[in-house]
């Protein structure tokens, strides 16, 4: 199941958000977590940590999530035997050192967020990871997947026809083009709006 991971299939992307941070967005239904490796196939989320190459996999099924342990994994302090469900606020412990918090910020969206509790990060300084279902909300307020304190309003990323789209109540621009009723976004697109700017980068 993890073999499909890490393909350059557009299942992972980075959002570089001015004034906010860098977020890794994983759109796959299964997202693997592991340590650094010299081999070609690293996990979707490859942390600089003392972990197995593929240490655990977080899977989305319907509206819910569960985690599959391939190496010692804990959820809320209890060892995971094979798999266990994940709910909002659960703490995931990987191999005694790595600690992540699993969040489901919005009840209206199946997307989840992973927060870093320990010091371990991917090679780049990523501020958070979004496990994106159909939508990803960026904006002010706790119910957004990516919290952007100073934004006047939220921006919605959503999937349509296998592509990522972007829309907002605010006036957004993709380059010089005004986005009305949403627009598909591609690798390298820069989206600007009032008091906001971010770049979408597929990896």
């Amino acid at each position: 199941m993890t073999d499909q991971a890490n393909q350059p299939d557009g299942s992972r992307s980075l959002l570089w958000i001015d004034g906010v941070g860098t977020y890794l967005v994983c759109t796959g239904d299964q997202v693997s977590i592991g340590g650094p490796t010299a081999e070609q196939r690293a996990a979707d989320i490859s942390l600089l940590a003392n972990l197995s190459r593929i240490h655990a996999t977080i899977c989305r099924r319907g509206d819910g999530y569960f985690i599959e342990a391939h190496s010692p994994t804990k959820v809320s302090g209890r060892d995971v035997i094979e798999r266990t469900d994940l709910n909002d606020g659960y703490e995931i412990g990987l191999s005694d050192t790595v600690r992540l918090r699993f969040r489901l910020p919005s009840v209206l969206s199946a997307s989840a967020r992973l927060e870093f509790l320990s010091v371990h990060r991917p090679g780049l300084s990523v501020d958070g990871i979004v496990l994106m279902g159909d939508t990803c909300l960026l904006g002010p307020g706790e119910t957004n997947h990516i919290l952007c304190h100073d934004w006047p309003d939220a921006v919605l990323l959503f999937r349509r026809d296998g592509q990522l789209w972007c829309k907002s109540r605010m006036d957004l621009f993709l380059g010089d083009r005004h986005i009305q009723d949403g627009s598909p976004i591609e690798n390298g697109d820069i989206i600007t709006g009032p008091e906001l700017r971010f770049r979408f980068e597929a990896i």
């Binding site: 001015d18 004034g19 860098t22 990060r121 780049l124 304190h149 100073d150 008091e195 906001l196």
Partner: protein, 714 residues
């Protein structure tokens, strides 16, 4: 100051919960203004330029800061800091220039959250454990900077980060190298005003500014808000300069620590960051911190006392105190004994140069104003009574008083300057200062030793005035204190010394309500008198005059009753009264309008130097005073007079005629500056002053001691 005011751009930027910065940046993601680096996103816009997150070609994360303003100063600062290495400082890698000639600072990228963001999570104050962590990290970084002769100058929560439990101080590039010659040279102000030490307004940037900023941040971490808030930069700066921080929300043990670290005067302030940190940790861990009264304060008193007891051999007395019971040291006798030693040491040395003798008349100089006051008091009732009933004479006299007042003030000023000059020269001759300082150092050392010897947890007596310090830390270097000018303690329990008294809320309320009722009768009598004397010409006039005077009197009595027996900063009192004066003025104007009163003022009534205040006219087309005139007059009248002395139960006399005369004079002066009907100005001033004094509770001298709870006054 103007420069400081100009620095308003990030006033709101760094406020917790209010962090709006315009997200317009010069460079787009993926641009490469600097060879070898690709900008990925903008991080923030600081006061001194835009900051970007960038990756080097090999993938190294850096923060790139584009330097926009104050270029050479900034660059000089940065280049001095290029090779600083400390885990608590954000490392500067390099300083580069792009093809357009713009300068870039290449810095370590810190991924963690800023203290600013941390504070947003705790609107009512952060947990003490977290605060300790921040405090330790910041203090270590700043101590390192200070040790290298660099002052940060721009410490604020937005500049401090926590990454992987490691505190990092950023923007070190703004720091300045201190050398004596340049200490005051940089006059431009930097830093967000919330965290700015008062002396920065004067262009002084010693290490103490960092102590102050750190203390402000500590205050904010403990309470969730900064001590000095305001709508404008100017307002906040003014508070830094003049308002004492409200330490009530601070845990009690930390209050003295913060009070010292937030001192307005950098000389009085906690002298360095490690000391502040030490005191903070001691207070938090519950170790007793001696409450400190500035060394100069108690020394002067002791010199005074020692001087009052000729013939006692202070030194021997002190020595016996040392030799005697070591055990008794620890308790209450300690400070007294030690102070005796210190004081007597000074006396001893002061005795050596006997060449200089103060002439007898000079020693009695403080009786001079008293005598003048005596004459004035005798004459004044006649003058005032005559004046009230003979308006023409009244103004003639007042003008005379005004002129003689100016000359008198000039003469008195010259006299005081000469006096302090002579005192200073005297002190030079007697060479007391150095020895006094040694005595201080000795006292401090001894105080510390005492604390070590006993190690008990009893809270130090308030009189104990030694610097807090650890066992392993040498006592603070004694500072050379110039000998204070010893002023005699007030001859009676008067108002020249503010007296702290415990007055229950109940007493305050009872006294105030009684006074307010009494004020109504006073107003009625005075207004009726003025009406009968023909000074007030109509019932309408009497209505406007009397009601405004009554409101004014209440407005004075209420706050001053609250302040009575407490030590509120006089400036705060004045500002409060100013506000109330504005309200009273507005009420007066409103009554004027409602009762449709017309001042029958001729040309001579308006003699002010200014007939308008900014765009606001003070006299309208019908030759009536405007709202602004009312507000200005009452505002100034309330602001300029020390009204709390009119109402204090411990005032010299119930009704001081000299005080009435001075208030009337003030009314006259104000009306000579801001146009307002002169007769009304003075009559109102004198009436409010009379009502207030007559109605307020007054306790005769001989009954006062029982209100003081055993406190004795010389």
């Amino acid at each position: 100051m103007m420069n400081a005011l100009a620095e308003t751009t990030d006033l709101n930027h760094n406020r917790p919960g209010n962090g709006k910065a315009p997200m317009k940046f010069t460079f787009a993601p993926e641009s490469k203004p600097l060879d070898g680096f690709t900008i990925k996103r903008a991080i923030q816009r600081g006061a001194f330029g835009e900051v970007y997150y960038a990756l080097s070609d090999a993938g190294k994360e850096v923060a790139l800061k584009l330097v926009q303003q104050n270029m050479d100063v900034e660059l000089r600062g940065v280049s001095q800091c290029l090779n600083l290495k400390h885990p608590n400082l954000v490392t500067i890698f390099d300083l580069k220039t792009d093809s357009d000639g713009d300068h870039w600072v290449v810095m370590e990228y810190v991924a963690g959250r800023s203290l600013d963001q941390h504070l947003r999570d705790y609107p009512n104050g952060a947990p003490i454990e977290k605060t300790k962590e921040w405090m330790t990290g910041i203090a270590a970084g700043i101590a390192y900077l200070h040790d290298r002769g660099i002052v940060h100058r721009d410490l604020k929560p937005a500049n401090i980060y926590c990454e992987n439990d490691l505190i990092k101080i950023g923007d070190v590039g703004l720091s300045k190298y201190i050398s004596p010659s340049r200490r005051s040279a940089h006059t431009q102000s930097v830093g967000t005003v919330y965290y700015m030490a008062p002396e920065i307004a004067h262009g002084r940037y010693g290490r103490e500014v960092d102590v102050y900023s750190l203390a402000i941040m500590l205050y904010e971490m403990l309470t969730g808000h900064v001590p000095f808030e305001g709508e404008t930069t100017g307002e906040i700066l003014m508070k830094h300069l003049s308002v004492k921080p409200d330490l009530d929300p601070i845990p009690e043990a930390l209050r003295p620590v913060l009070a010292r670290a937030l001192e307005k005067d950098p000389q009085q302030r906690t002298s360095n960051v490690p000391q502040l940190e030490r005191e903070f940790h001691q207070a938090v861990s519950g170790q007793p911190i001696p409450k400190e009264i500035p060394a100069a304060a108690f020394v002067s008193r002791d010199v005074n006392q020692a001087a009052k007891q000729p013939g006692t051999d202070g030194w021997r007395k002190g020595k016996s105190c040392f030799k005697g019971k070591h055990a008794s040291w620890a308790k209450h006798s300690k400070p007294k004994c030690l102070r005796d030693v210190a004081g007597n040491l000074k006396q001893k040395v002061g005795d050596i140069p006997v060449n200089y003798q103060t002439p007898e008349w000079w020693k009695n100089k403080d009786n001079l104003p008293r005598r003048i006051g005596g004459w004035l008091r005798t004459a004044a009732p006649f003058l005032i009574v005559a004046a009230i009933f003979i308006p023409g004479l009244f103004f003639g006299l007042l003008r005379a008083v005004f002129v003689s007042g100016i000359f008198g003030a000039l003469a008195y000023g010259t006299f005081r300057i000469a006096q302090s000059g002579v005192n200073y020269i005297a002190s030079l001759f007697s060479n007391k200062s150095t020895v006094a300082a040694n005595a201080n150092g000795f006292l401090n050392a001894a105080g510390n030793a005492g604390a070590v010897a006993t190690g008990h947890n009893e809270t130090a007596t308030p009189e104990l005035a030694s610097k807090p310090s650890n066992v392993d830390v040498p006592p603070p270097t004694p500072k050379v204190v110039p000998p204070p000018v010893v002023r005699p303690v007030s001859r009676t329990v008067g108002l020249s010394t503010p007296i702290n008294r415990q007055i229950s809320l109940r007493t305050r309320v009872t006294e105030l309500s009684g006074s307010m009722v009494l004020a109504v009768f006073c107003t009625l009598i005075i207004t009726a008198g003025l009406l009968a004397a023909g000074i007030l010409t109509s019932a309408t006039a009497a209505g406007v005059f009397g009601l405004t005077a009554l409101i004014g009197s209440w407005a004075v009595m209420a706050p001053t009753k609250i302040w009575e027996g407490t030590t509120v900063d006089p400036f705060v009192k004045r500002l409060t009264l100013l506000g109330l004066g504005v309200v009273v003025g507005a009420c007066g104007f409103w009554l004027d309008q409602v009762l449709m009163f017309n001042f029958v003022g001729d040309q001579a009534s308006y003699q002010g130097a200014f007939h308008s205040f900014g765009p606001h006219m003070l006299v309208d087309a019908a030759r009536q005073p405007t709202l602004m005139a009312y507000v200005l007059f009452f505002g100034c009248l309330f602001f300029l007079r020390s009204w709390w002395r009119h109402t204090d139960s411990f005032r010299m006399r119930r009704l001081r005629v000299s005080s009435l005369a001075l208030t009337a004079l003030l009314g006259y002066v104000i009306s000579q500056v801001w146009s307002f009907p002169v007769e009304w100005a003075m009559t109102w001033a004198i009436t409010v002053s009379s009502i207030v004094q007559i109605s307020s509770v007054w306790i005769p001298q001989d009954e006062r001691s029982k209100y003081l709870g055993g406190q004795t006054h010389a």
